[in-house]
Amino acid sequence: MNPAYAYIYDDFLVDRRYQEILDSLETKLAALGLSGRIGRLTLFRNSKELVEDFVAQGVKNIVLVGNDYTIDKVLWFLPDLPVTMGYIPLAEPWGMAGLLNIPTGLGACDILSARLIESLDVGKLDDRYFLSEIIFENTTATLALEGGYKVTLIQGGVLEIRNLGQASFDSAKLSDAQDGLLEAVITPRAGFKSGFFHKLRPAEKHETRIMFKAGSILSEQPMEGLADRFAISGFNFNVSVIPNRLKVIMGRKLAGYKTPNAGAN
């Protein structure tokens, strides 16, 4: 057993249909010399205490086994701990795996073995961390950003604040989570401009994109949205980015990543 690794199994993995793949997973991890302690998330078990116990025992790598919800269950405290996060996605939704370039299923074990570790920025929405993005589907909110300017949706639309990118829907849209910035993407409400041919134009044509470090989302109407996959609601939110806050074992370098000496002569 490798004392530096601990595996956090999500509670849905107790289902019998996952037994076979978990057996294969443990066999493969043992073959790679990566088998470690196993902790299981349950409804009445505090995930933070579980992970902190592992850290107190000397664990350096916390590998989350499950799906994107498994990440959400620990991300609210994980950036505060001196650990590296790994991810083995065994079931949908697994959009985060695409953003992190991690194959689904047993292929993720090879990524753990390769140990390409990247430090990623983490977003913060009030007192909650988020890794991928925040999204408000239908809002007229104003974004007040550092530097003293405001961005307003004239007739409403979708407001996204991306750190690593969008993993919520059919395809991923990657942002650079190593630039120390968040990306605000605003898409005005559909039908803002009428016309059949207008609708055939790519959506990117109508996207507002602004990079920023900190700001506030302000609305006179109550807003409901998602931070990663957690539901949020309220009138005002403070948003910021914490650079290089979370170490993650990834599949390969991010598309937007440049080595420190790239281009230097």
Partner: protein, 163 residues
């Protein structure tokens, strides 16, 4: 702020069931390459108010009220409305601008542009049809801006036929 978890997270199918003892190879599910686009875009339907500064290219298709400054290229689209002072390295203007433009290098004014304000730039290209109201300094004359008493030079304008 109320924060609550989303339920219904029970997944559908395991990722890759081992078949005959040999797991299927799996691959990343998304193509994650970035596109080469301006670093800041203000699209139609969005209003920016205040003092905006950027170091990258900026594309404006919506409304801006205040001031806008970039060390790179500023593009103002056909339907854009700027009630703002503009400072940029280069600029392409096709929409309406109400405010002074201070362009360090090249300014291109499209035939659809309507500019109400003074212009300072190094080189200017103006398409037929553009509407300009205000003073213009270009070429070496643009460097006289620190001396208010200096005479306004004759604009160095390249006339370009409209498309």
């Amino acid at each position: 702020m109320a924060v609550m978890s989303l339920f219904g997270s029970m997944p559908s199918v395991p990722a890759d069931r081992p078949e005959n003892g040999s797991p299927q190879p799996s691959v990343p599910i998304f193509n994650t390459k970035n596109k080469n686009t301006p670093s800041t875009v203000i699209a139609k339907g969005v209003r920016l108010e205040g003092d905006f500064k950027s170091q990258g290219d900026v594309l404006i298709e919506g409304e801006v009220v205040g001031s806008i400054s970039t060390d790179s290229l500023l593009t103002v689209g056909n339907d854009a409305l700027l009630k703002a002072g503009v400072q940029a390295s280069e600029a392409v203007i096709a929409g309406r601008v109400e405010g002074n433009l201070n362009i360090t290098n090249r300014l291109e004014i499209k035939g659809t542009a309507k500019i109400k304000g003074d212009i300072v730039c190094q080189t200017v290209v103006v398409e037929a049809g553009a509407v300009l109201q205000g003073n213009m300094k270009s070429g070496d004359g643009s460097k006289a801006e620190d001396n208010p008493s200096a005479p306004v030079s004759k604009p160095n304008i390249e006339q370009k036929p409209s498309a």
